[in-house]
Structures are given as C-alpha cells and as structure tokens.
C-alpha cells in the first residue's frame, strides 16, 4: 500500500528504517531517492550493505537538521508507537515531509478486545506479538484514537488503509484491522 501512495522518483525519509527492506523496495519499484534513520547498529550494517543512505540517530531528538518540506514523503512505519515523544516526532515528520505516512498496530482490534475482556490478559496478536515484559511499544492507540488526534490537531488525512493478516479490511476497521496506515499532510 505504501508503494502505491508514493510516486515515481520521489524523495523519501524512513524514520526507523530497520534493515532498509522498505526503502530498497521503494528504490526498486519507484526509483525513489531514499534516506533512512535507524538506531540499531546491526540494522545499519544491512542498510549500508544494500547501498542505502542511513544515519544512526534517535528520531526522538527530532529532525532539526532538515529544512521544512525537504522530503516528498516521510515514513513512520511501525515506529510511531515506539517513540518516546510521538507528538513531537509526528510534528517533525509533518514539517520535514510534504506528506507523511504513519503505520501502527491497532491496539483495540477484535482479538485484542477478546483477550482483554474475556481472558483478562494483555493482548498478544499478530500485530502485537510481544509479551508485556519485552514489548518495544510505548504508546497504545487505536485507529479511532489516531483519527481523533488528527482532527484535533488539524492534520489532514488524505488516505488510509487497514489490514488484517496482510489483507485489506474495509468493514469497521477499528474493530477488525490489526494495522492502520495513514497518508497525512499538515
């Protein structure tokens, strides 16, 4: 889906790019000019080996070295819920990118609700595979929460897509989707 939102030859900054899989795909399919930011040294090794441009940095400290609108797209895929300061990071992403793509696990999908309500346990699902003691996720939000937040802060949702087990979910995404993906502009 991210692929279809990004136009040919665009400039892309991936915040928390991991081993650079998405950026490599975007380069191959869309000939984008790519740049990644990542904290893990091992992941940096993989990126460098793929010829990617990557910086070992903490996105929580901001993107002050980039001027406004210096990228066509800034991507926060599955890292948004893991940063310490999501408000600040999203604000920075929206400033630096003309468009921002945010993807995160929906913490209130049906399976999670079931586990929480009937079993009285913190949910462990496909999109939330971690136990309570080893999760890197710091913020727990739903698709509805994110929509509300964007409305409150006047962030434009230009497009959205929802997934469960890699399949698109159209009906009641906040209940059924495991992952929410948003295309935003400020």
């Amino acid at each position: 889906m991210i692929l279809s939102w990004i136009n040919h030859g665009a400039s892309v900054l991936d915040l928390g790019c991991g081993d650079g899989e998405l950026l490599s795909l975007l380069i191959r399919e869309k000939q984008v000019r790519a740049q990644g930011i990542e904290l893990s040294e091992q992941a940096i090794h993989s990126c460098v080996a793929s010829g990617l441009s990557v910086f070992q940095e903490d996105i929580d400290t901001g993107l002050s070295e980039y001027s406004d609108g210096s990228f066509d797209f800034v991507i926060l895929n599955q890292t948004f819920q893991q940063v310490r300061k999501p408000v600040f990071v999203l604000k920075e992403a929206l400033r630096v990118g003309r468009k921002t793509i945010v993807g995160f696990p929906n913490f209130v999908n049906a399976s999670a609700r079931f586990q929480l309500f009937f079993r009285g346990k913190v949910p462990v699902t496909n999109a939330l595979p971690y136990e309570w003691y080893d999760t890197p996720n710091l913020h727990f939000l739903s698709i509805a929460d994110f929509r509300d937040y964007c409305k409150k802060r006047n962030i434009q949702i230009e497009n959205s897509a929802f997934f469960r087990k890699n399949k698109s979910v159209r009906l009641l995404p906040n209940l059924f989707a495991e992952i929410g993906l948003f295309l935003l502009s400020s």
């Binding site: 040294e41 010829g51 990617l52 441009s53 070992q56 980039y66 210096s70």
Partner: protein
C-alpha cells in the same frame, strides 16, 4: 613487550585473519615540483623538489576505477599493510587492508603516501634543503592539511588515476578525507572519514600544544637544529606519552593495566611503579626511534590549523558533492568525540549529500579506529561494494 602489544592488538581486533597477509611490500618514491616548477603552499611559500614515499597494493584495473587512497594519521606512514623484508611487524592498518579484508586488495588498488612534512620518506623538516645542503629543520615551511592533500593529488595524477573509488582515513587521515571532499569533489566516488572533525577544537589544540612544548623544552631540541647531535628524545617521548593517554579511554586503560605494578622495583623513588607508567615510557621511547621531533611539531601544527569550514557555512561546505560518504565514530573516543562526526553528518545532510553515519561500539577510545577493525571492516567493505558496482541511491534534495 612488542610481542605482547602485538597479541593485545590481535586480541582487541578479534581478527583471525593472518597478519601481514599481503606478504612483502615495498615503499616507492615519487619526486615532483622540480625547479623551476616549485610547489606553492597555502601560505604562498614555494618549495621543491618534493618527494612522497608511497606504497600500493593490489592491481589497478584497466579503467583505473578501483583505486582507494588511505591517508594516514599523525604518526603513520606509507606502510599500511603487509611487511617490509626482514621485518616482522606489519603495516599500521594491516587488520583492515589486505586480501579478503575490509579494504580488499583482491578488488581494490590501495594507495598510501607519507604526508608532506613527515619523516618516513616524504619531504619534511629532516630532509635536506637543496639550497643549504643541510636538513631543513625550522627552515621548513609551515604546511597545512590542504598542502598535504595537494601533494597527494600530484601522486594520484602521476599514477594516472582520474577518479578515486574512495578515500578512507581516520583521525588526521579523516581530515585529509574531508579535504578531498571539499578540494577535489569530482575526483572521488566515495569518502569515509573516521573518528575525525571538521575543525580542531581548543581542547584538541591544547593537547597538541603541550606535546609541542615538551619537545621544545628539551635542551637537545636546539631550535630544531639537532640533526648532527643527539635528538630531543625526552621531549618527544613525553609528547607521545600525552598523545597516548588521549588515544585510550578510561575503560581501556583500566582493562589493560588496572593498578597492577611492575614486578621489578627500581631503586629510584619515582621509577615507573605501575604498569601504565611502564607502558607509556615504552611507547614514548619507542616513538623516538621512529619519529622526527620537528616533524611532530609541523604535523601537529597542520592538524591544529585544520578548519575545513574556513569561513564557509556548514550548509555550503559540501554543496554539489556527488560522492557517497560514510562517516564513522566510536562511542568511547573522547579525543574526537562523536558529536564532531555528527557535525560532518549535519553538513552532508544540509548539502543533500548521499551519506551514512554509524557510531561504533568500542571501549578503546580514539585508538579504536586502529584496533576495533572487525565491525569497521565490515561496514567499510559493505559500503564500498555498491560504490564499486556503480549503485547510487541517496541524496534527497528536491
């Protein structure tokens, strides 16, 4: 002790690759700037003829596209890797350079030259001044990192290399990398500045200044005119000892020496009691055997004067640079701390240069660029591969 440090070295680096695997290598000499075509220094002074000592490893390919230049640090020389006939000790970056190593001599043609102002075969203060037929001494002009790189450029021209695949260097070698990026952006395809800085800070200048003071305070120094008598060994040794402290870290010293004392106790009250004292003395005394005190003054001065910005703004310094850049720093390096490398990264970002940055884990302080070769070698070889294959993805300027 030599063997011990050798063992520590290979232990530190975690390398199982054979030491000196390049086999016997030889130093070559290139002389240029013969009168009347003298070499003009940044200061405007003219000097010539100049000789650069250099070594090359590997084979230059037909299109001359696989050359990697490795500028050396303060006390380095042209002898990067392999061994000289009759010597056991390999070159100073043997863990990194050789067949199958980080900078793979099976793939790349590696060039390293001793810096202008040095004392390992290139023209410097201990060379004979053709006008006086005596060593230059303090008659040698002040040289800059810019001059050092300009001299290297003559060598690269002489070798027939139009465009270097990469320039890779740490510390003062890293300054030369930055100088290539700014001075000859069209003649490099990649650059790897390691544990270095855009400019020397007051703290860095201070350490070098104390080193120079130690040399000049030695009565044997005689205003640099000691070539026919004994050398200022004490002063230079102290300078090197200070240097060595700044190259290590609190953790690496604690690990290497602890508070262990030497087995033999000298009769003198203040003889070296702790292992660390003995080690520093050994390093200092050893350095005197292989390094010229005046060269130490000239080269540390060149380092102190280094400021690649030189009145330019951070965002303009790398404007238009097409080369790919990999900036590396080490966590425990307090002499060239990582924020200085991040400043280089910032300049790259502001100019839209295709750059990458990694801060490597190491406890060895500034010395990590020589010792912590395993991760470094992996990163550099990974980085060079796509460059030599012609892949180029980055840069973000719209």
């Amino acid at each position: 002790m030599n063997k011990l440090s050798q063992e520590i070295r290979s232990l530190y680096s975690g390398q199982t690759q054979t030491i000196g695997s390049l086999g016997n290598v030889e130093t070559k000499y290139f002389t240029f700037a013969n009168p009347p075509d003298l070499f003009t220094l940044e200061s405007g002074e003219k000097i010539g003829p100049l000789t650069l000592a250099y070594e090359t490893y590997g084979t230059l390919d037909e299109g001359k596209t696989n050359a990697v230049l490795i500028p050396h640090a303060l006390s380095g020389d042209a002898h990067v890797a392999g061994t000289h006939p009759g010597e056991k000790k390999p070159g100073w970056w043997d863990d990194m350079v050789g067949p199958g190593k980080g900078i793979d001599t099976d793939k790349y043609f590696v060039v390293c030259s001793n810096v202008l102002g040095g004392c390992k075969g290139s023209t410097g203060p201990c060379s004979t001044n053709p006008q006086t037929r005596k060593p230059y001494g303090l008659g040698f002009p002040i040289v800059t990192i810019g001059d050092i790189v300009e001299a290297q450029r003559h060598l690269i021209d002489y070798l027939g290399i139009e465009k270097l695949l990469a320039v890779v260097g740490g510390s003062m070698g890293g300054m030369q990398v930055l100088q290539w990026m700014v001075g000859y952006p069209d003649r490099i395809r990649a650059a790897v500045p390691v544990a270095t800085a855009l400019k020397h800070t007051p703290q860095q200048i201070a350490f070098n200044a104390v080193g120079r003071q130690a040399v000049m305070a030695d009565p044997e120094w005689k205003k640099g005119n000691y070539y026919t008598s004994s050398v200022p060994a004490k002063g230079l040794a102290v300078a090197r000892m200070i240097g060595h402290i700044t190259y290590m870290s609190d953790a690496s010293m604690a690990e290497k020496f602890g508070r262990r004392t030497k087995p033999e106790k000298g009769s003198f009250k203040f003889s070296a009691e702790y292992e660390v004292e003995g080690y520093l003395r050994y390093k200092g005394d050893n350095f005197v055997k292989r390094f010229d005190a005046n060269s130490y003054l000239y080269i540390t001065k060149a380092i102190d004067c280094f400021n690649i910005l030189n009145g330019h703004s951070l965002d303009s310094i790398f404007k238009g640079l097409k080369a790919k850049v990999l900036v590396l720093a080490f966590k425990s390096d307090w002499l060239y701390p990582s924020h200085q490398s991040q400043e280089i990264v910032k300049a790259c970002k502001l100019a839209g240069v295709d750059a990458s940055y990694c801060e490597l884990n190491s406890t060895y302080g500034h010395d990590a660029f020589l010792l912590e070769t395993e991760e470094q070698a992996k990163l550099i070889s990974h980085f060079l591969r796509p460059v030599s294959n012609g892949k180029h993805y980055g840069g973000y300027q719209a």
